[in-house]
């Protein structure tokens, strides 16, 4: 309690009326005067000043002691310490450079990852009150669909019969050809219904949003994105009121929303009312037509469970009223919008952040070791200081200031490093992580970085600073290095920990690399080599043409391109697997005698393909026959099923020849004519979904993808194909041409990115750990030079000396390896969700890492060992 009061006084002393330096000095001078007088009195011949000073001490010293007692050190003291620290950094450029470099690296990487984690995961979405925004899905557990869309009549019922919502809205996304912008441009359009802009609540940059009543009255208005406004429209200030022609309809632009408005996707450029479109564009107003993505804003006094219960009850009621369409779709799922945006990026980012933090720990261990080594070298300097009269606290304070300043300077450099890393990651990682383009350094990150660097500096500087408190320093004033100081157990402990962390990091990197390699060599279900994919959006002139015209155009493409030399197969499909999500699905019921699933419709992904598609893609036909080129009218439509579909819908039977009833689009009959191999639709990690292949006689789609299989190098055929297509129709746009290999590689972009990051971190960790081992061993050898000299003079030969150093290195590394392997086994278990067909305890990786680290340690100990062996006993013994 007494001390607390003293501390409070000290603190108050700095703030309120302090006893000024002048007052204190006056008091001290008076004391000296009186002491001088007294000395003169006792010895009249002598001028008492010297005697007085001897007895009373010096004014300057006393002022120092008073300042220490008075309070938190004055600003001048701190400034003086800092200036001294900076001078100290200049005086030892080698040490400073290495220290600053490693700190900048560790802190910079950490700050960069923190920025990315914050920007992608933690930062709230840019809509007002974004925590109340949720996505609402219908679920069909029997089909395994947990994030299903909602049909328009169901959505209307939801809107009118629930009260849990401040706003409910639905969207449907599709690419559309836009005219009136100079050149025809392909845009991502979202047709909206319900109170869309009200629910999301964004303020437009200019103009206004489309209101609920606009949508109800089917007024053809459009809201565009800021990106579109500034881009294709050139930032035209008079953009409001301009007409935008999208497909067959004309819309008046009424507003522009900011770039941060990214619903339903980051690429959406225009929003229009769904009510403007006709049935032939968006399908019939059918309760079985599940096409709407629903988003809602919860009322402030309602929580998710209550809203869910209300919707669930309504869905059950609808299922009873409309059993044909709703009986199987009784489930409702509510997911916060933030979770759907972030998706599976969470675990990836957390793992990378953990890796970067591990790297920072290694950097701190290295720094602490360097400071300890330097502290050992400066012990004599500290001893002199204390002998002259500095209080130990003062010395400690100065040492801590030095390491704090070192940390701070490293942190400033680290900010530059962090900026560079963030820029690189955002560029390289484009498309791999959501919201990556929203990531940028801001004030919080800068503060975090500087604080972290100062704390790191202080923490690492603490052990050597405290060492000056503990030991008796006078012994260091004696001449000669009679005192042999070995690397303290702290230094050795730090190295062991450092090596252990490096082991864990390198093991993680190895696992990620192996997982990536496995992914690369996995079979996507089609032949990846020697094939091209040409994506072509529908020609603007064809938008209003009849279906047969477009089908004929596609047949012409196939004919002409097949005629090119080097082409062995051509086919078409709407969206290519792995490149674009398969947006089409088909619902059907089995109409053969043993209909097991009753009248509940089954659903599968639907690919509309030409007859040559399977051959062009290299998808094997396992049983049955290919699709015909021409369909016979009146007969059931022939279609193919994938293995997964066959297993799911006709378990234990042969699907060939089975007939199904299609639920939409004419409700015709279709017959299974063949079974084909499974194809990964969304990426190699997800299991292949049940897929069916229907002949592409059907209606115009906005985009067609031409798949061309070639005999030799596919890239040589890019130009001939372009020429052929242009020859057929000069206005045909080609969105992209890429090899199938590139398409598959793109789909694995996130894994590649992760592997790259881990490779970098693993290498850094390895290098830093090796440098750390090197540093400690060098220091040990330098300190023991005299001892080595004695040993050699007494008969040890070079080999013994080298063996001594190597033995020291070996104990450190083996201990580190053991600790690290144990740690790796525990930690990597948390990574299993990231790994593809690789066990977290993969033996090859663990053994490989041991070998790599041992090699690094051997390399690191070579130079110190060599230096030890070169010690000439005569010189060593002569050394002070």
């Amino acid at each position: 309690m007494r001390n607390l009061r003293e501390w409070l006084h000290r603190a108050a002393g700095t703030l309120s009326r302090r006893r000024r330096d002048e007052d204190l000095e006056e008091e001290l001078r008076l004391h000296l005067e009186m002491a001088t007088d007294a000395a003169r009195q006792s010895d009249p011949q002598d001028d008492g000043r010297r005697a007085a000073r001897l007895r009373a001490g010096g004014v300057a010293q006393a002022m120092e002691a008073l300042r220490d007692q008075r309070g938190i050190p004055s600003i001048t003291d701190v400034v003086r310490d800092m200036r001294h620290a900076i001078r100290g950094l200049y005086r030892r450029p080698g040490f400073s450079a290495v220290a600053l470099f490693t700190i900048a690296l560790g802190i910079g990487a950490n700050a960069a990852m923190f920025t990315i984690v914050y920007g992608v995961l933690l930062k709230p979405l840019s809509y007002p009150d974004a925590e109340r925004l949720v996505r609402v899905y219908q679920t069909n557990p029997a089909l395994g669909v947990m994030d299903g869309a909602v049909s328009p009549p169901d959505f209307d019922d939801w809107q009118s019969h629930t009260r849990a919502w401040d706003g409910l809205a639905a969207t449907q996304a599709s690419p559309i050809l836009a005219l009136g912008l100079g050149e025809p441009v392909e845009l991502e359009m979202a047709v909206v219904t319900g109170d869309f802009f009200g629910t999301l609540g964004t303020t437009p940059v200019i103009g206004r949003a489309i209101t609920h009543s606009d949508i109800r009255d089917a007024i053809p208005l459009a809201v565009i994105s800021e990106r579109l406004w500034r881009g294709a429209l050139g930032g035209d200030p008079a953009v409001l009121g301009r007409t935008l022609r999208l497909g067959v309809h004309g819309y008046t632009i009424v507003g522009v929303v900011p770039t941060t408005f990214r619903y339903p996707s980051a690429g959406t450029d225009v929003w229009t009312p769904r009510t403007v479109l006709g049935e032939e564009e968006i399908g019939p107003y059918d309760r079985g037509q599940r096409v709407l993505d629903v988003i809602g804003r919860l009322r402030t006094d309602v929580n998710v469970e209550e809203a869910h219960a209300e919707l669930q009850a309504l869905a059950a009621h609808l299922a009873v009223e409309h059993p044909a369409s709703n009986a199987a779709w009784q489930g409702v799922a509510i997911v916060p919008l933030h979770a759907t945006v972030v998706g599976s990026a969470g675990p990836v980012l957390v793992v990378v952040f953990a890796a970067v933090t591990a790297l920072l720990l290694i950097v701190c261990a290295n720094l602490a070791n360097m400071l300890l080594a330097r502290g050992a070298a400066r012990r004599r300097e500290m001893a002199v200081r204390v002998a002259i009269g500095a209080s130990r606290t003062r010395v400690v304070r100065q040492l801590l200031t030095e390491s704090g300043v070192l940390g701070f300077c490293g942190g400033v450099l680290g900010i530059a490093v962090a900026a560079a890393i963030v820029r690189t990651v955002v560029r390289l990682g484009e498309g791999t992580l959501p919201r990556l383009d929203e990531v940028h350094l801001d004030g919080w990150v800068l503060t975090y970085t500087l604080l972290l660097s100062i704390v790191a500096g202080l923490v690492c500087g603490l052990p050597p600073a405290l060492a000056t408190l503990r030991r008796s320093l006078a012994v260091h004033l004696a001449d000669g290095r009679a005192v042999v100081s070995r690397s303290t157990s702290l230094q050795r402990g730090l190295i062991v920990v450092e090596v252990a962390i490096a082991v864990v990091l390198v093991v993680a990197a190895g696992l990620v690399a192996r997982s990536f390699l496995a992914l690369q060599s996995a079979d996507p279900g089609f032949a990846v080599d020697n094939a091209l994919a040409v994506v072509m959006p529908i020609n603007l002139a064809d938008v209003e043409q009849p279906v047969e015209h477009i089908a004929q155009r596609r047949r012409e493409w196939i004919e002409r391109v097949s005629a090119l030399p080097g082409v062995t197969g051509v086919g078409t499909i709407t969206s290519l697997p792995m490149q674009d999500r398969c947006r089409d699905f088909v619902e059907f019921t089995r109409s053969d005698g043993e209909a097991r699933t009753g009248t509940v419709p089954l659903r599968a992904d639907n690919c509309l393909v030409s007859s040559g598609y399977l051959h062009a893609m290299g998808i094997p036909l396992l049983r049955g026959a290919h699709l015909p080129d021409v369909l016979t009218a009146g007969a059931p439509v022939p279609f193919l099923v994938s293995e997964a579909a066959a297993r799911r819908f006709w378990p234990g039977e042969d699907p060939l020849g089975k007939i199904v009833m299609l639920q939409a689009g004419g409700r015709g009959e279709a017959v299974v004519t063949g079974v084909v191999g499974d194809v990964h639709q969304t990426g190699l990690r997800d299991a292949p979904t049940p897929t069916v292949y229907f002949p592409q006689a059907g209606g115009p789609r906005i985009v067609a993808t031409l798949v061309v299989r070639t005999h030799g190098d596919p890239e040589s055929l890019i130009e001939p194909i372009r020429t052929t297509v242009r020859h057929l129709d000069a206005n045909q746009a080609i969105r992209s041409v890429s090899t199938l290999r590139a398409v598959v590689a793109d789909a694995a972009a996130r894994d590649r990115f992760l592997t790259f990051l881990f490779a970098v971190f693993g290498t850094l960790a390895l290098v830093l750990a090796a440098v750390g081992v090197y540093g400690v061993l060098s220091h040990a050898v330098a300190e023991r030079t005299r001892e080595i000299g004695v040993r050699m003079a007494l008969g040890a030969n070079r080999r013994n000396v080298v063996g001594m150093v190597a033995g020291q290195a070996a104990t450190l590394v083996v201990a580190g390896l053991a600790l690290g392997l144990a740690g790796a086994v525990l930690v990597t278990r948390l990574m299993t969700s990231l790994l593809y067909q690789t066990s977290a305890h993969d033996a090859v990786t663990l053994v490989g890492v041991c070998l790599v680290l041992t090699t690094a340690a051997v390399v690191a100990s070579v130079v110190p060992a060599w230096r030890a062996a070169r010690v000439l006993p005569s010189i060593a013994l002569r050394m002070d």
């Binding site: 001390n3 204190l24 008091e27 001290l28 008076l30 001490g57 010096g58 010293q61 002691a65 007692q69």
Partner: protein, 115 residues
């Protein structure tokens, strides 16, 4: 901070504080030099306090509220700071004198015990 074993510096600080308090109690308000002179005289020259020890001690006692310093003038008309015991200081002095007497008594007993 309050519960660790006192180091040598702390013990010296503690006893010095006690002696300063006692001096101020006996002689009333004094300035710094007078306290040092008095302690040197009473200890027959054994205690020679230099300014770097004495004045921080006085400042510490003032920070703890045991003494209070006020500016005044000496006999020779020089401006000096005089320190006087506060009520809290008087109480603390009594407490510490008791504690010291008890400690000294115990050690005395142990050192002089017959077999």
């Amino acid at each position: 901070m309050a519960n660790r074993e006192p180091s040598k510096a702390d013990v010296l600080q503690g006893t010095l504080d006690l002696m300063v308090l006692q001096t101020l109690d006996t002689l009333g308000p004094l300035h710094g030099y007078a306290v040092a002179a008095r302690l040197e005289q009473v200890s027959s020259g054994a205690l020679q306090l230099n300014m770097g020890t004495l004045y921080p001690a006085l400042m510490r006692l003032e920070q703890r509220g045991l003494i209070r310093g006020t500016w005044g003038t000496t006999d020779s008309n020089r401006r000096a700071r005089f320190y006087a015991l506060t009520a809290a200081g008087t109480r603390q002095l009594a407490r510490e004198k008791d504690a010291w007497a008890r400690t000294a008594g115990i050690i005395d007993m142990v050192l002089n015990s017959q077999r």
